[in-house]
Symmetry: C2
Subunit: 260 residues, 2 copies
């Protein structure tokens, strides 16, 4: 059976109606499926009330010890468990996971070079407990990943949700065909960033290099696509980037940008 | 294989050293095991910073909506995931669960009679997903339950950790012999509440009634023991009540009070 790994960002998590609408579509997705959710502004808001100010170095958010506790509460507790409870109410047998649960996703604390990112984890790809994830899927469960890993020494670590999605998709590829779907706030990869209808239906590595050199693809889309091609190279069958409100048509192939 | 369901209270959870020491002993327990943890004062402290004041009616803590969010963050996030990460560091393959995960423990929101307890769940015993718990145990995992259930309609519910422990012990009893161990801050059931060495080694229902009538057993120990006898009646092999710092000797039968 095919597996779909579907990632939603913090902007969906922060918007109760958009999240409910997305989860309704997600619950209807057939076959094996995994949800990966990002953080969201709610962590920053709760952090402010707790006196935990965002800590940036060179424009990069640092995960100090209070911030790690904050994201553990908000990501693994508030966001993850409410998503799980909501999915349970619409006939989707969800189970929430951090990377520490069943040691599903071990990581190493990012080594300090120019910047000390604090409690941030780089996933140890070859130690992912893919057998457990496979067993959970075979028991009819839908894993819901929160963006936390662990170092095997007792500490949780903060890890980017896009990375979690990519790592789990790659790790499951030896067992079954895997489709990796990134849901975000645009309709896909746009030929013209100002024109939401200029979605590129399908893109190859050669297309990407051309469009990048021509300046049509810029900014945050570049690392997103580079990650997508890396996932394809690592055995993921398809990567699709599309709008979170269009999950059904992304899956039917009628919206979003396919990377093959 | 025998299953041990071991419950620790909030007082252990709040004490970092006591918790580490307990988890070290817990990780060494052989055979199937499940940990159930309580809440702790940390939730109240974080709640104060967030402006969520404890809300009591007739001396009973009420779980209003902000309190439900608070305990979801603290119990399912901060406490549960740090316990899981610490157990992973000492060779115990833990997986954290609320009652919503895999719908392991469905509940109904407590009906309003004299008091509206708010988002408090009474466990629906016959809907516990014991097959999933059995499958997790058979995969070498150690479930770590946080005291939250869910109503199947999208809401998490706050549920007493003693109750969670009893319900999971009863639900697993048809599959395997189950020992239910309540760890708390005393050495067991005491003949004299002022004398920590007056531990009753073993107690029957007849003993309990005698001691209760004689006024030797009073206060919070009465519902604890009533629950223990109810668990025995429902198929649990043994219930032991003992000190959290004595887990190894509780298990070897050298400390605590056995209820049979």
């Amino acid at each position: 059976m095919e597996l779909k790994v579907i990632k939603i960002g913090g902007n969906i998590v922060d918007d109760k109606d958009a999240l409910s609408s997305f989860l309704g579509a997600f619950a209807k997705v057939e076959g094996y499926k995994i949800l990966v959710h990002g953080g969201g502004k709610v962590a920053t808001e709760i952090g402010k009330k707790l006196g935990i100010e965002p800590n940036y170095v060179n424009g990069r958010r640092i995960t100090d010890a209070p911030t790690l506790d904050l994201v553990t509460m908000v990501y693994a507790g508030l966001i993850n468990k409410n998503i799980v409870a909501e999915l349970q109410s619409i006939a989707c047998n969800a189970i929430g996971l951090t990377g520490a649960d069943g040691s599903v996703m071990p990581a190493v604390k990012r080594p300090v070079k120019d910047i000390d990112y604090g409690f941030v984890g780089d996933v140890t790809s070859d130690k992912i407990n893919s057998r457990l994830v496979k067993a959970l899927l075979e028991q009819g469960l839908t894993p819901v990943f929160t963006p936390l890993t662990h170092d095997g020494k007792g500490s949780l670590l903060n890890t980017n949700a896009d990375t979690i999605a990519q790592e789990i998709a790659k790790a499951m590829a030896p067992y079954m065909p895997v489709e990796l779907i990134y849901c975000f706030e645009k309709n896909g990869v746009l030929l013209d960033a100002e024109d939401d209808t200029s979605v590129i239906n399908s893109i190859t590595a050669a297309d990407f290099n051309e469009l990048k050199e021509a300046g049509a693809i810029t900014g945050g889309m570049i690392p997103k696509l580079e990650n997508a091609f890396a996932a394809i190279d690592a055995g993921v069958a398809t990567v699709i980037i599309g709008h979170a409100s269009e999950l059904a048509t992304i899956i039917s192939g009628d919206s979003g940008t396919s990377i093959r």
